[in-house]
């Protein structure tokens, strides 16, 4: 009963278009004032203590690191590197797009920014080289979403916070699925390019490749700083995030010289504002899940599900459908923060691995970024390609279908996600 009231109220409030954080907060307050005996003081305290966890503080640091390197110059270097390696294959520039997107997205941490940065530079070049426009648009729109699967990933930190999982294990778990999905998208690109006989680029010389690698390696080392630091135990995930922010600052200002010192305050301000928005959602989502737990809702849902005799296979299918639908309305962070606390206890009762479940959620978020009506990647891609949403949706479908096939694979083959963290002794 209270579950219905809570979710009903939340849905109505969200549909008015108010910020998701405010909708969550008002739902909690309304419920507290009218239906329960939880002291209101407990809520005021939660407003502060809700984000008083050191793990959460990785988020602002990763955003800051990403913003330092979200620059056209960095995107150009990664495209150069990728196209010098694979440009001579079928669909070479398209394949280079997949790789450049994967690299840039991992470093910048933002899918829409990846689509814009890589797309703005690569798409005109692809059109000039003789690729149809919708081919390039399809590649970039979908590959831009790779960033939330390849560590460091902010959405994974959100999941770790919402379910008390290990950030390090999640990051490690994302590596193989991330590379696999890039491979899948690359294969679709290659296959279609070969089928339609799209142009290829001349093969780059060893010297050109080395130069392109040397130019882009500074940005790529960010991933090494984070993953190496966490895995060897030199840093905690949050410390690794802070170190990567300092590293990104040094690379952007002193190595690449893409920005000067006087641009730094602006980057700091933008990062602070973006992090504050996410931290604000987290605060209110923490209150929301506090209420849910207090009312025993996730527990009773889990019991109900077991009583229906639902198994892991059916449950995961429902989870995927539910998340894909939610992906139509909300952006990844909010979905993870709202749904993880509800779905996680059920998944645990069915014996699903927490890390595997996290990867399933993250892959769902990726698919959600790329399909209408709300896929953010589609919108920004529409902006840079000057194509309509409908036209883009058609352009995207071969890759979107590839992602869905990959989603099914990741959902029902836990090994893909859990093998690497197991090998590394992280879980």
């Amino acid at each position: 009963m209270s579950a219905l009231v809570i979710f009903g109220l939340l849905t109505v409030l969200m549909l008015t278009g108010m910020p998701i954080s405010i909708a969550l907060g008002l739902t909690v307050l309304t419920f507290l004032f009218t239906m329960t005996s939880v002291p209101i003081e407990a809520v005021a305290l939660k407003l502060f203590t809700g984000i008083e966890k050191f793990e959460i503080m990785a988020i602002p640091f990763f955003i800051l690191a990403g913003n330092f390197l979200t620059h056209g110059g960095v995107a150009k270097r990664m495209i150069n590197f990728a196209s010098s390696m694979v440009g001579h294959w079928y669909g070479g520039l398209g394949l280079a797009g997949v790789i450049a997107c994967a690299l840039f997205a991992a470093v910048s941490g933002s899918s829409p920014a990846t689509v814009v940065a890589i797309g703005a530079i690569l798409l005109p070049a692809m059109v000039k080289a003789g690729f149809p426009k919708n081919f390039g648009a399809g590649v970039i729109t979908t590959s831009g979403a790779l960033g939330i699967l390849i560590p460091p990933s902010i959405v994974m930190v959100m999941y770790a916070v919402a379910t008390n999982s290990s950030v390090g294990a999640l990051f490690m778990a994302g590596v193989i699925p991330g590379l696999m999905l890039a491979g899948f998208l690359g294969f679709t690109t290659f296959y279609r390019a070969k089928k339609f006989d799209y142009p290829r680029q001349p093969k780059a010389t060893g010297a050109q490749r080395f130069k392109a690698f040397r130019d882009s390696v500074w940005g790529l080392l960010l991933i090494v700083v984070v993953m190496g630091g966490i895995y060897t135990g030199i840093f905690t995930p949050t410390e690794a995030a802070a170190m990567s922010a300092v590293y990104a600052f040094i690379v952007a200002v002193f190595v690449y010289k893409d920005m000067s010192l006087k641009d730094v305050p602006k980057v700091l301000l933008n990062s602070a504002s973006m992090s504050a928005m996410l931290l604000y959602i987290i605060t209110n989502a923490v209150m929301f899940s506090f209420i849910l737990t207090n009312e025993n809702i996730p527990q009773s849902l889990a019991d109900w599900m077991l009583a229906q005799g639902m198994g892991a296979i059916v449950f995961l299918l429902i989870v995927n459908v539910l998340l894909l639908v939610a992906g139509n309305f909300m952006e990844p962070s909010s979905i993870v923060l709202i749904f993880a606390p509800i779905l996680f206890p059920m998944a645990m009762k069915l014996g699903i691995d927490p890390i595997h479940f996290g990867i399933i959620m993250v892959v769902n978020m990726e698919v959600g970024m790329c399909h209408p009506p709300v896929g953010l990647n589609l919108y920004v891609a529409s902006g840079i390609t000057k194509m309509g949403i409908t036209e883009l949706t058609i352009a995207v479908w071969p890759w979107l279908l590839t992602m869905l096939v990959f989603l099914i694979l990741v959902t029902y083959v836990p090994m893909i996600s859990t093998w690497l963290p197991h090998m590394m002794g992280l879980m």
Partner: protein, 207 residues
Amino acid sequence: MKWLDRLEEIFITFLIAAATLVIFVAVVHRYASGLHLGAVQDWLLTIHMSWAQELCIILFVWMAKFGAAYGVRQGVHVGVDVLVNRLPADKRRIMIFVALGAGVLFTAIVAILGARMVWENGLAYVTLSTLGLDTGDHYEGPTTPDLEWPTWAVYLAVPLGSSLMCFRFIQVLMTFYKTGDLPHHDHGHVDGLDEVEPLEVQVGHKS
């Protein structure tokens, strides 16, 4: 109100920079003090950075509360706008008023709740005793574990930040009422794209 805008921006810029620096220095210190550097090592070992995590959390919580207010006037807070954007203009206008009103309401309630919490957690005691008045039932309030700062001072971020956020929502509401404009944030903005030279490709080359 220009001064308030500017102050808000400088404040949150400072907070994120300070937090980054604190953790950076703490990590460097942890490893540097393990090196055999003679007197320098002795000196490093006398410094304790165990409070760094706590300070970082406090800085970021303050950044979150004030940054959220800054975010309101930048239009950073995202909502579900699928339905609203399909409404006819006049109904859409009403929904936007409702949504902004909800922002005003929520932040105002939080500001009041937060202020009460801070008052009862030590601000009352401090105020009354400073003024030389009877402190009554009020107590000094707890302190934070590492830095031993009074928690009421730390929690002050909630009422102050939320009041500012409420004020920002009212500002946005007024502007929307007068001009029909809403702040809009571009989530896909990338700097330096204009400066980048186009990628060189070979045209129509087939093998």
